[in-house]
């Protein structure tokens, strides 16, 4: 457990608690490091047995678009990792309908299965969380 939790042993207090964590991704990949380092947080978080959901809205929807090839900017293409999330039991992925529409993107453009929700539903989901981390 120490390995996957980033080198710490969870104490008694945290072991019993299950909180709702939401990770909100609002930024495009590659232009800044937030998308990559947010993904690293979610992968670690998966080991803690909390209730995890991930949101992609605004330019964050570009993170999970198919067909990324980063060879010529000399940066690692981390988009395949989103497909691995399911194996970490991170299954609640929500994408903003309005953000998709503004960008002319369709569900078929995305490389993972997601639930597409409108702004009102997104606001409801957000309101229901214990901890919201936004990148």
């Amino acid at each position: 457990m120490n390995e996957t939790t980033g080198g710490i042993a969870m104490d008694d207090e945290s072991e019993g608690t299950i909180k709702k964590f939401m990770y909100i991704n609002r930024k495009a990949p590659y232009g800044t490091v937030y998308a990559l380092e947010a993904l690293e947080v979610v992968l670690i978080a998966a080991a803690f047995d909390q209730d995890v959901s991930m949101v992609f809205c605004d330019d964050g929807v570009y993170q999970i678009v198919k067909g990324q090839h980063t060879k010529f900017i000399d940066v690692k293409n981390f988009s395949p990792t989103y497909r691995a999330l399911e194996g970490y039991d991170v299954e609640k992925l929500y994408v903003s309908k309005e953000s998709m529409d503004e960008r002319g993107l369709a569900e078929d453009d995305l490389l993972v299965d997601v639930e597409i929700v409108d702004n009102a539903k997104m606001a409801d989901l957000m309101e229901d969380q214990d901890v919201v981390l936004s990148f």
């Binding site: 980033g6 080198g7 380092e37 690293e40 981390l133």
Partner: protein, 119 residues
């Protein structure tokens, strides 16, 4: 109440660290506990012992060290983000410690509130 903070930007470039500090100071003054402050992304640069701001400017790194000492605040720097940006034990300021991302999740679980400051 137990409050945790996440700080995503480095000192001087963005106001985020200043706001986080002044927020933490006010919370402590009101009797709340600042459980842990987690430094991620460029936020790890808050822990560089080598910073030397002009005399008439605030010393951001020293302020954190002093807060850690006076109020027993746990200042945790993300190891992966720190290695990418050149923060290691040899230039780590007093009161900070380097550890894994699990410490951030743990802060989210243990604190009553987790507040993010960034760009």
């Amino acid at each position: 109440m137990k409050i945790g903070l996440l700080i995503n930007e480095g000192p001087y470039q963005h106001q985020a660290t200043d706001t986080a500090y002044l927020f933490a100071k006010a919370a402590l003054a009101k009797g709340h506990e600042i459980d842990r402050i987690f430094f991620y992304h460029d936020g790890v640069n808050n822990s560089s012992s080598l910073t030397e701001p002009p005399q008439d400017d605030r010393n951001i790194v020293e302020r954190w060290s002093k807060m850690a000492e006076e109020h027993n605040v746990d200042l945790v720097v993300c190891v992966a983000a720190a290695l990418r940006r050149g923060i290691k034990d040899e230039n780590l300021a007093a009161g900070f410690r380097i550890s894994g991302l699990g410490q951030l999740i743990e802060a989210g679980i243990q604190a009553d509130r987790l507040v993010t400051f960034g760009d």
